[in-house]
Amino acid sequence: MKRRAFIQSLGAATIATALPAWPQPASSTDTGGHRLLILIALKGGNDGLNTVVPFADPHYYKLRPTLGIAPDQALKLTEKEGLHPQLEPLLAAWNARELAVLRGVGYPEPNLSHFRSMDIWETASRSNQTLTTGWLDRAFGSDSKPTRGTLDAIVVGTDETHCLHGGDARVITMADLGQFRRQAQLLGTPPSVVPAQASLRHLLQLERTIRASAARMKAAPQFKASFNPDPFGRAVRTACDVIASRDRVGLAVVHLSLNGFDTHIRQVATQARLLKTLSEGLMSLRAGLKELGAWHDTLVLTYSEFGRRPKENANAGTDHGTAAVHFAIGGRVKGGLHGAAPNLANLDNNGNARFTLDFRRIYATVLEKWWGMESQDVLGGRFQPLQFL
């Protein structure tokens, strides 16, 4: 859907409230134009309760008789909450006040299907509304986005994301920068005709973006930072390689994925492995971007289709849930706890926690405070930005 059609679909009431000015970034010289957002999709639905553990809450251990993480195992952030032990590398960012923990994240009338809920997150729709464009695609299509480059976003790896679907964002997907540059050189000349087939127009648009981006990117730099040899570590490395050319191409978004969080069975080992991969990857990213001088202009956000059910199931796993925990990390992030932890004594009819923080408030924070742009027409309504920036 094109932006105009989207705005029309919002209805008159929303348009009427879309008039107030949005806050400008604090400094006049700082337009937010070169600020980078790195999104990390935790696919499958990460279990928030065992990511940030409410070890002082007796309900937690009642709901999690075998999966519960003992108080002495959790890495204490406060007197009530602590990180999963495999997130130990994140303590460096926490101690530097660069890690914000966003709690109780969800949305009204939660949908528990992986695909539908991921679509809701990635298109920033209401639960009962289907949008065909991603929230970031609409942001890049918005008149208030301060700067546009040759390339808006890079998706690293082989996973698709709906966040950037829609045709307004200029996106390429790559696994490796060197390979990308070599192959782009061999593209033929651009044809002069505009073909009738949508499939062909899609292909030609990809070719154009590839040509223009590759022409501006420089070769991968050497890093002192180390990167794990697993797929996520390699993706983080590719992200750093590309970010080294961010000013040349105007890059604003990098998207990474980590798969496997759908832990219906034997959750302990799987989640431990994934959180270790995640936290080590995040710290490689932080080290790499510091070397590039980009960390101060970077905001990293995790997201996932949903959290998991507080009560563990009979297979030493957890089923699809709601309110989740997410991380915001970056050189300018105001570290600390944000939002309210879900109340485990007051679960909904499905046995799920009630959300306390609408995920679209996180997006509003990115759009308004990070990029200094209007958020209402992108998000289809007014969402109060948070204080983590």
């Binding site: 528990l112 695909f115 996973d159 087939q197 062909l200 590839i210």
Partner: protein, 485 residues
Amino acid sequence: MSKRQAHRQGFIAIVVVLWLLGHGGAVLAAGMGIDDARHLLSRTGFGPTWAEIRRYAALSRTEGVERLLDESGTTAVTPPPDWVGVYPPPVAMRTLSEEARQRINQERREQSLQLVAWWFAEMRATPSPLTERMTLFWHGHFTSALNKVSLPILMYRQNVLLRYHALGRFDALLHEIAKDPAMLRYLDGAVNRKARPNENFAREVMELFTLGEGHYTEADVKAAARSFTGWSIDWQNGSLCFRSLWHDSGVKTLLGHRGTFDGDQVLDLLLQRPETARHVVRKFWREFVSPQPDAAEVERLARAFRQNHYEIKPLLRMLLESPAFWTPANRGALIKSPVEFLLGMERQLSINPLSDNTVLALSSQLGQNLLNPPNVKGWPGGEDWLDGRTVLLRRVVARQWSAARRPRPATTRTKQPGQKPVPLDEQPLDFEIQPWVKQFGANADWHAQAERLLLPLPPLRRPATTLPPIQYVQGLLLDPVFQLK
């Protein structure tokens, strides 16, 4: 056939004939002709060869569709790997030593590669490419993935099941797949029991396999999950077993009906809903016709699909004979899947692939890792097949596979960072341009014929006919239009 249906089919026939007349009498007299035959075969197979196209060109469209349906099969012609005959005794992985565990995992990895290689071999060798296209279609619809199922033999058995019903009846396939051990494992049905219902299969069967999203409630999911309890796996032989103690025989309310439903009754309720046929027909449309299903046509086909008791052949016949399938506006409207792209190039250039492992690795890197779909929704397909990375990789493959001299193993780039290079243990066979050009006949304008064979639409960057033949062909393969079907 009802009077109404007969009337409708008669009407379609008239439309088709009128359309044909508009395209010249020569086509009528000599059958559907080269371009139509190419269209029919590339939409229902894996890159047709010139010989296949010529055979079908002599038939009328109706005869061509009929032959495709008549020649479909229910079993593979390629012998499977030996190990599929013997179910491995169950092992408690947790009790094994690290070394023993690794040995078993290594064996499973090798078996899964052999299994995918076997399927690729079958797709090449089958006398009915449509049968394999439909088997692959159902694999993307009733998804299961080896990475969760973990036992290759169960995925083999599921593949056999999908092929057996590939052009049979959808209702029978739904009932069978719901009891298929690989599916019971993939969507956790095997651990769904009365005391602790697991909703995974119940949700996906409604959202993805039958009704589609938005046509059921969370309460329906819970009721269906209770109904499916008890269908489990006997791990001694890897077959379905019903555990009556696990079954919840209480009263459930599902889609407005009340009863002590079991799993089969739930499936029958889902098959009674008109949404199910619509959902499946839309998927067929996107697979065979165009990315945008026509609502009125979907309704017509879905009604017939239900009236025909979910028989797949009549649905395919109606779809392939519909005006929308043949209209010029939909030629080249679909993007080739990685499997169609790779096997199609092998077939159309009459080359042997570098090696099984190379082809499997490429297919996976292009986004179609057979037996391991990305998630339970299967491969999204369409424009999602192509992005900044896969566009470039497809070009690399097209350039390499059409080279007069195959690259030496050491210079072949099918390796991702951190992975072992794919061994090329096979003697490379070059693309032999001279016999390939001769297939078009001594007097024919082979440049034009090669274009008709390889491209569904005129090229955007037509190579000069003054180029050496092999470079001319390569130019066609590197044209964006080669990615379409």
